[in-house]
Symmetry: C2
Subunit: 218 residues, 2 copies
């Protein structure tokens, strides 16, 4: 876990470079320079070259990279050249939006099944199917699923996480606004939309107030 945390920043940057490269590719770029990537991602070009050198990626004599080749290499590092099957618990508004989200598929991430406790939401013929929560454990085991998404209400999240982990899930992305108690070999990431908005509101209010105190807006 400590190693993972240590390395988290450069992996985030590699993902960001890759996303920037996809945009460059869409725009018809064949070659990019570390400056282009640095500008897109908001780091220095030295940082870009440093991150690449960690994985033995080097540009040509003038510091240019072939877009296609670089995407391929980054996908390889990020394990994106194979489709990653994922399960989702909680077929509410957010969960359903995630299953329909084109962005995931583009990144080779496939939600293969949803699970919900509400019988009215069960739909085995949908794509992906929504199954009963009772089937979660077996499904994960049978299909050797390693990644789970949790978008259930906060009071159900811990139970769902435990069920996922006991079936073999090693990584959880949790949207419920609650800290999960994990087990040692499972990585838990959080997306807390309320918290992000709350913080934003706090800082905007604080900035506005301090401006007023300083005698008005510039």
């Amino acid at each position: 876990m400590n190693n993972s945390n240590l390395g988290k920043n450069y992996i985030i940057r590699l993902s960001e470079y890759k996303n920037a490269l996809s945009r460059f590719k869409t725009l018809g770029f064949v070659k990019v320079f570390s400056d282009n990537l640095a500008d897109s991602v908001g780091v220095t070009s030295v940082q870009v070259r440093k991150d690449f050198s960690l994985f033995g990626i080097s540009g040509n004599r003038r510091g240019g990279y072939l877009v296609e080749e670089l995407i391929e290499k980054l996908n390889d590092i990020l394990g994106k050249n194979e489709v990653q099957n994922v399960v989702l618990a909680g077929a509410g508004h957010l969960g359903t939006a995630l299953t329909k989200y084109k962005g995931l598929e583009k990144e080779g991430i496939k939600i293969v099944a949803c699970f919900d406790i509400d019988p009215s939401k069960i739909d085995k013929k949908a794509n992906p199917p929504t199954l009963s929560f009772d089937e979660l454990f077996e499904f994960i085991k049978k299909n050797a699923i390693k990644i789970g998404i949790i978008s259930v209400p906060e009071n159900a999240a811990q139970e769902v996480a435990e069920k996922m982990m006991s079936a073999g899930v090693k990584g959880i992305l949790n949207f419920a606004p609650i800290k999960l108690r994990g087990i040692e070999d499972c990585i838990i990431s959080y997306v807390n939309i309320e918290l992000e908005l709350e913080n934003l509101i706090y800082f905007v209010n604080a900035t506005q107030k301090s401006k007023k105190n300083k005698g008005g807006v510039k």
Copy 2:
């Protein structure tokens, strides 16, 4: 901006304490100790008391806090005792899910209008209404909106952000997987679901591989 970043961590913790307190309240707690909050949020109790003391909050002689009173104080600090009106650009699956998300309302955050470029999505009578993107600028100005959420495709995000900022928005929560070029007095936060999942997948794969190399799973 630097001040905001410096202070971000304790504000995140204050929000987390407040969420934990809401859960305690639901469970019927009248009083909590810093240990209870520390356990819920995953920090030490020393940290909890330190964070509170920054804002002049102190417990009773035995280190206990009254739940109701503490929630009130935290709401005051976080600016949560008044409803915060927010606009949302992009009424796709994710945007629509956000407007229906109960969690925001509970936190005093109200999406007062959505905006979309697609005429088939316009619905002035819905709650919140979905309006034409052409009305975004005027709406923000007229209603003095300070916070915007962006859930449009990545190629439209920068334009939408600029429109929001020019109309007076000071804080943006961006769901589009692209770094936005902001202006000095606007704070931009990111929720990048693909990136979170990608990182999770990378670390799970890396951990599994290193276990295999070490001679199998324990």
